[in-house]
Symmetry: C2
Subunit: 163 residues, 2 copies
């Protein structure tokens, strides 16, 4: 039945391509994130952010990174990073290291257990990611999706003020 033209009240707040994309982003993130997060937690006791942080640390020089840089990479606030690392530390997956050149900074450094759990989680998680995406997109679509998405992040979340 043609319930296609029910909308006539609002003048210009109609569906727009921008809005569609935005809603799509919200829903896609919600759906995919919940699925992966659950798998990761049940399988390894890690959240997605835990996982990503470990990934960044491992690929960083010396297996360590300043908290600020970590925050920027995973788009969390400074305090978010502090608490996330608290957890990882308590589990023994990262440790603190101080910086000789700057006493303000505390490096987060991945430990051997950290590498181990990352290695064990990596397989299933990446496989799940690949399966989900590969199942829905062609190689070309994947590339354009990726390109488009990477254009979105704005300035860092911190209070970057003008002038």
């Amino acid at each position: 039945m043609g319930t296609l033209s029910r909308i006539e009240e609002a003048p210009e707040l109609e569906r727009s391509a921008e809005l569609d994309a935005w809603v799509g982003l919200l829903r896609a993130h919600a759906a995919v994130t919940r699925q992966f997060n659950r798998e990761l937690i049940e399988g390894h006791g890690l959240t997605i952010n835990d996982f990503e942080v470990l990934l960044h640390l491992r690929s960083a020089d010396g297996g360590r990174l300043r908290r600020v840089d970590l925050a920027e990479r995973v788009l969390l606030t400074a305090s978010g990073i502090t608490r996330l690392l608290d957890g990882l530390e308590k589990s023994g997956f990262v440790c603190k290291a101080s910086c000789s050149a700057d006493a303000r900074v505390t490096y987060a450094e991945i430990t051997d257990p950290g590498r181990a759990i990352l290695a064990s989680a990596e397989g299933s998680h990446l496989a799940a990611v690949r399966a989900l995406f590969a199942e829905r997109f062609s190689a070309q679509e994947l590339e354009s999706l990726s390109t488009l998405l990477h254009r979105l992040p704005l300035a860092p979340p911190s209070d970057a003020c003008p002038g």
Copy 2:
């Protein structure tokens, strides 16, 4: 630009297009969401989900929806919806309505204040959304981004089992 064959270090955990897309989704969502959420909260005291729920309610028949259906539309769990509606009710933007045909269901119904705040928030929020996306994407890109993203959500978050 033939940077097509750069991968040779790790056997198979390398950057893959799927992973790139996934990371892009995570970052894009984090960045954009934080920005919009903040604007919406500062400007109107609503979260993104509040806003979306009101939007769905307004466009629903009779301005009301069962909680289950709401949950499905915004991809929250049942309990998430309950608490979200608690807040909106306390603010007077929605109210409960019972269903004569089925005593289990409680409709969430948008109120006049609800419509009012939605109307007032809508302008700036949608403008912000449009600006952000329009600034970064062409019309064609927007359409493909939207199409691709809408392909992602999986089955509903509940325990849909095969069989």
